[in-house]
């Protein structure tokens, strides 16, 4: 009865059109039986050459491009870009503008992590129900964005020197009503997913990244913190007045997919804390400094970075003194976090590779730009 079943290597595509790849992203995996022996990612389906286009437009005209890189966190992208231009031009932002930016960036982190946590639950097999809970609250955050900037996803709200408009009346009330609901959703996520036996069995010890690997591979954000490295740009290199707020950096201790999920949940709690503090002492005064529309920063270069929901989002600008950037480079956290895709997936099964990819929380618009 002893029959030896042999398998041979087989190349298989995951994506580009597959719900588990979170966009048009393709992984070419070589499988031997159920085990993955090689994984190669194929990207570029969404490449729109923003870095080239940005060299032909003025600094202000480039802000809408940044919305469309990481389309799940446009406010954070706006903020990173505006900080880089302000650094280049030596501009300052009034205190009220800074506080509004922090509120928006943190609400955006909440919205983005709602999507990330929900989609990750989807990948583990908790099909559709958690993603709907999280999206229900995310939709309320997007309503607040729509109220403030007129758009849900591509907000284009920040400007060089501040923000585009003053907050609408009723904004503070809307946010204050929303925060307890979010708190409840996070608690539900904690209780029904993070403490669920099936979920733990599915996500624990899957796609482990050691701290040394994480640092060497330039990982940032929840990927790095999930591996136990307490590195957050908001603490390490505060921008836009983050040094005034009291919050903690959550870290994982095993560096697996489960740790990244719980780090995201905890980060959402910390974001709520920051938003509350920022609303409590929202300073008065102007929301923006006057900057000419055809703004010409002096020749030079600047690298500014923020902690976006996905990691360190950097903008590197070179100016030749003209009205448009000479070089416009985005450091995309989603792309660089995928450096460890091979390490996470080789040796694992195909089902675990889906979880590994889900735990990175990629946005393809940012990978391809």
């Amino acid at each position: 009865m002893s029959e030896i079943v042999k398998t041979e290597p087989f190349v298989m595509n995951i994506g580009p059109q597959h719900p588990s790849t979170h966009g048009v992203f393709r992984v070419k995996v070589t499988v031997d039986g159920e085990q993955i022996t090689d994984a190669e990612m194929v990207i570029g389906y969404l490449h729109r050459s923003m870095e080239k286009l940005a060299e032909e437009r003025t600094y202000t005209q480039n802000i809408p491009f940044t919305d469309r890189t990481d389309y799940l966190s446009s406010m954070s992208n706006n903020l990173g870009y505006c900080l880089a231009v302000e650094k280049l031009g030596g501009l300052s932002v009034p205190a009220r503008g800074q506080a509004i930016r922090v509120i928006m960036a943190e609400l955006q982190r909440l919205a983005s992590h709602c999507m990330g946590a929900g989609a990750f639950a989807n990948d583990t097999g908790a099909w559709q129900t958690p993603v709907m809970w999280f999206n229900r609250e995310r939709e309320r955050i997007l309503d607040i964005f729509e109220m403030t900037s007129g758009a849900r996803l591509t907000c284009n709200y920040m400007r060089i020197g501040g923000v585009a408009f003053e907050l609408r009346s009723g904004f503070e009330e809307a946010v204050r009503n929303l925060l307890p609901r979010l708190q409840q959703t996070i608690a539900d996520g904690q209780e029904l997913l993070a403490e669920n036996e099936i979920f733990i069995a599915r996500a624990r010890d899957v796609a482990v990244v050691s701290p040394e690997t994480a640092i060497g591979a330039s990982l940032t954000g929840p990927m790095l913190r999930g591996s136990g490295v307490a590195w957050d740009i908001r603490k390490a290199d505060p921008y836009s007045g983050y040094e005034k707020y009291d919050f903690q950096i959550p870290i994982g201790y095993k560096g697996d997919a489960y740790d990244r999920f719980t780090v995201r949940l905890e980060e959402m709690r910390q974001s709520i804390k920051i938003v509350e503090q920022a609303l409590d002492d929202l300073p008065g005064g102007p929301h923006s400094t006057e900057v000419p529309l055809a703004f010409r920063p002096p020749a030079g270069e600047a690298y500014a970075r923020i902690e976006s929901p996905r990691g360190e989002l950097g903008y590197y600008l070179i100016s030749d003194g003209g009205p448009s950037p000479f070089r416009f480079h985005i450091r995309p956290p989603s792309l660089i976090n995928l450096s460890v895709l091979k390490e996470m997936t080789v040796g694992a099964s195909v089902a675990d590779a889906i979880i590994a990819l889900g735990s990175v929380d990629i946005v393809v618009g940012e990978i391809d730009r």
Partner: protein, 175 residues
């Protein structure tokens, strides 16, 4: 406490002790390294306890018409400091630079991207392929002489981009 940026003079002084003859020149905002010594210098900067640049934050290229520059932003998480290092690539026809993937694994995709968009070949890279565009795409899109519209004028310039050696002050009509 915010991140400390190493000034280029301080950085040059430190590196010249660590790896002699690895610096070609020092400018106000960055220190330029010699390509032949690049990997050795980066390895020393990563492993030395005083610099401890274990994290390659950003790697990108830039086109200055007569030369390319590759810019490395390297940082130490423990000491919370960051430095900007540059390398010049003078040969426009055949731009080659040693790869730093042996120093930081995180350089892999960023070097692929620089190759894809600028055509700079990184030697000893494990798998240097075009990632955003497909193999066989004509040209290197982020070079300054690559036009966004076929046959068009490069905005900001008053000459055809391929023929202009170096642009005079850019002419924009935005005001």
């Amino acid at each position: 406490m915010s991140t400390r940026w190493w000034s280029s003079t301080e950085f040059a002084e430190f590196l010249s002790k660590l790896v002699p003859d690895s610096i070609s020149r020092v400018e106000e905002n960055a220190c330029y390294l010699v390509p032949e010594k690049l990997v050795e210098a980066m390895m020393a900067l990563r492993d030395d306890a005083d610099s401890n640049f274990v994290h390659l934050t950003n790697l990108c290229a830039a086109d200055y018409w007569d030369k390319f520059e590759v810019i490395y932003h390297i940082q130490s998480l423990e000491k919370n400091c960051i430095a900007s290092v540059k390398v010049e690539v003078l040969d426009r026809e055949n731009p080659v630079l040693p790869s730093v993937t042996s120093v930081w694994h995180g350089a892999w995709l960023q070097e692929c991207e620089a190759y894809d968009l600028y055509g700079i070949r990184f030697e000893n890279h494990p798998n240097l392929t075009r990632i955003l565009l497909w193999e066989g795409y004509p040209g290197w899109p982020l070079r300054k002489d690559f036009l966004t519209m076929p046959g068009g004028l490069q905005p900001g310039l008053n000459e055809f981009a391929g023929t202009a050696a170096k642009p005079e002050p850019p002419v924009h009509t935005v005001e």
